[in-house]
């Protein structure tokens, strides 16, 4: 790209490229919005269907003891709290740790840790949950710990990748302007890495919602016990209501996290 030969076409091409990119982004935004609305509508629809089913269906006395609108809503709320609590722990640990791994002497540990994180998903969540229950007992505490351990590696990988993805020239420019290393991190690198980090946070939330479904195995509450009880007693209605509610909740949380993701992304990006 030599300026002397074709300055004007290059500039025009550049502008066209920018305009094209903008159009693509706008289209993506529109689609994203339509998708979010469909997603929320589908979740609410699923919950309404479940509630109507519970009210209308001819349930046996055992089934109606296990299933009531009040129980469904209470367990869903409990499930939501469990997943969010686990995700908060994950974010509180993984984000500072990820930032540390991109600084100074700790930098050389970043690559091996990301390599290990790749296998994190292969470690079966149910294995971690059962081990936590064996060592620390059943109930919510050990369960949350197992969930958090399961979720930390993927989010950590995203944080490190996000910060590594920031153009080194931008960092150099910030330092050249006289910003401190910390100032550069907080005001340049973190905002630029936000989209990737937020994707990691959303992944954590969704992962936690799905994994929290295993709570029925260790008496940790949430919607999972409906599936376990349904299987144990051969009550398909209880089982299916639990499963559908968990799926709808996961979609709902994914939609909510997408909203947060949008709100948290700096305007310039």
């Amino acid at each position: 790209m030599s300026a002397s030969t074709a300055a004007t076409p290059t500039v025009r091409e550049g502008l066209e490229e920018v305009a094209e990119e903008r159009a693509l982004l706008d289209a993506d935004d529109q689609r994203g919005r339509a998708r979010l609305i469909t997603q929320f509508a589908a979740c609410l629809g699923a919950f309404l269907v479940l509630i109507v089913y519970i009210l209308v269906a001819d349930l046996t006395s055992v089934e109606s003891r296990l299933l009531s609108v009040e129980t469904l809503l209470r367990l869903s709320w409990e499930h939501l709290l469990l997943s969010v609590a686990a995700a908060v722990v994950v974010v509180l640990v993984a984000v500072p740790l990820g930032v540390l791994l991109t600084r100074g002497p700790l930098r050389r540990f970043a690559t091996p840790i990301i390599a290990v994180a790749g296998f994190g998903q292969a470690a079966p969540a149910i294995g971690l949950i059962v081990l936590a229950a064996l060592y620390l007992g059943t109930g919510k505490g050990p369960f949350l710990l197992a969930l958090a351990i399961y979720g930390i590696l993927p989010v950590l990988a995203n944080v490190v990748t996000g910060i590594h993805g920031v153009d080194p020239k931008v960092v150099e420019a910030a330092r050249g302007m006289g910003m401190s290393a910390f100032g550069t991190l907080v005001r340049v690198e973190m905002p630029l890495a936000t989209p990737v980090i937020m994707t990691g946070v959303r992944t954590a939330l969704v992962l936690m919602t799905g994994t929290a479904a295993l709570g029925g195995f260790v008496d940790a509450g949430g919607l999972g016990p409906l599936i376990n009880t349904g299987i144990k007693l051969g009550l398909d209605s209880v089982l299916v209501v639990g499963a559908v509610a968990i799926a709808a909740l996961a979609l709902f949380i994914d939609g909510g996290a997408r909203l947060i993701e949008r709100a948290a992304t700096p305007k310039g990006l």
């Binding site: 079966p124 149910i126 195995f217 299987i231």
Partner: protein, 215 residues
């Protein structure tokens, strides 16, 4: 009894269940790869259908596997059929996403040249587009394999085969002898299998990548 003694003591059962676990994952992965490639080839030429495929993949991955197992248990009596169906479903999603993205990223200029040289659409797809998108597709297969290894552990609860049985038997004997050994053996064996399968898939991917774009 230490974990090591436990593993030695139960070696025949452990190796049998490991074989079952691996075979369940690999077979479901094969089904998933074929289905995902077929869907991607149908989808990638149209932007709208590609977007639909990508949305299906991302929504599908949001659905908790335990919930899907639950729904399948209500309708299918056979544990093995449930396991294969659930694993094939989850396995398809990342491969479909990667295949659609990989195929749509092939330089349109190259496709036009191939068409201009008189290659048919099928020939262009088989001899040009799929080979160029292959590394991305293989990455999708590896991601799927890792995920399926973990999901397959739950299959044992739906009376399917695999190493999950070690984890669940540890759970049902909480406080009893060897409960922790059993859970550790199941969990660690799954991780070992996952690493091994990933190495093999990585090697296979390299060998099947067209020589011109091998890195």
């Amino acid at each position: 009894m230490s974990l090591w003694e436990y593993v030695q003591d139960r070696w025949s059962l452990l190796s049998f269940q490991s074989y079952q676990h691996l075979s369940l994952v690999v077979q479901s992965l094969l089904i998933a790869t074929v289905v995902a490639l077929a869907l991607a080839c149908l989808a990638y030429r149209s932007q709208r259908v590609s977007e639909l495929a990508l949305s299906v993949s991302s929504v599908g991955l949001t659905l908790p596997s335990f919930a899907l197992f639950g729904i399948l248990i209500a309708f299918i009596p056979n544990g093995i059929v449930i396991s294969v169906a659930a694993l094939a479903f989850y396995g398809t999603l990342p491969i479909l996403r990667n295949a659609v993205v990989g195929l749509s990223r092939v330089d349109p200029g190259l496709v036009e040249s191939a068409r201009g040289m008189g290659m048919s659409r099928t020939a262009t797809l088989v001899r040009l587009e799929i080979p160029l998108a292959w590394p991305v597709i293989v990455t999708g297969v590896r991601i799927s394999a890792q995920m399926l290894m973990g999901i397959a552990a739950i299959a044992a609860y739906a009376s399917g085969p695999g190493l999950g049985s070690f984890i669940f038997s540890g759970l049902s004997r909480i406080g009893g002898a060897n409960a922790t050994n059993s859970a550790w053996a199941g969990t660690l064996a799954i991780v070992v299998l996952a690493i091994g399968l990933d190495l093999v898939l990585n090697l296979l991917g390299r060998l099947t990548t067209s020589r011109g774009i091998r890195v």
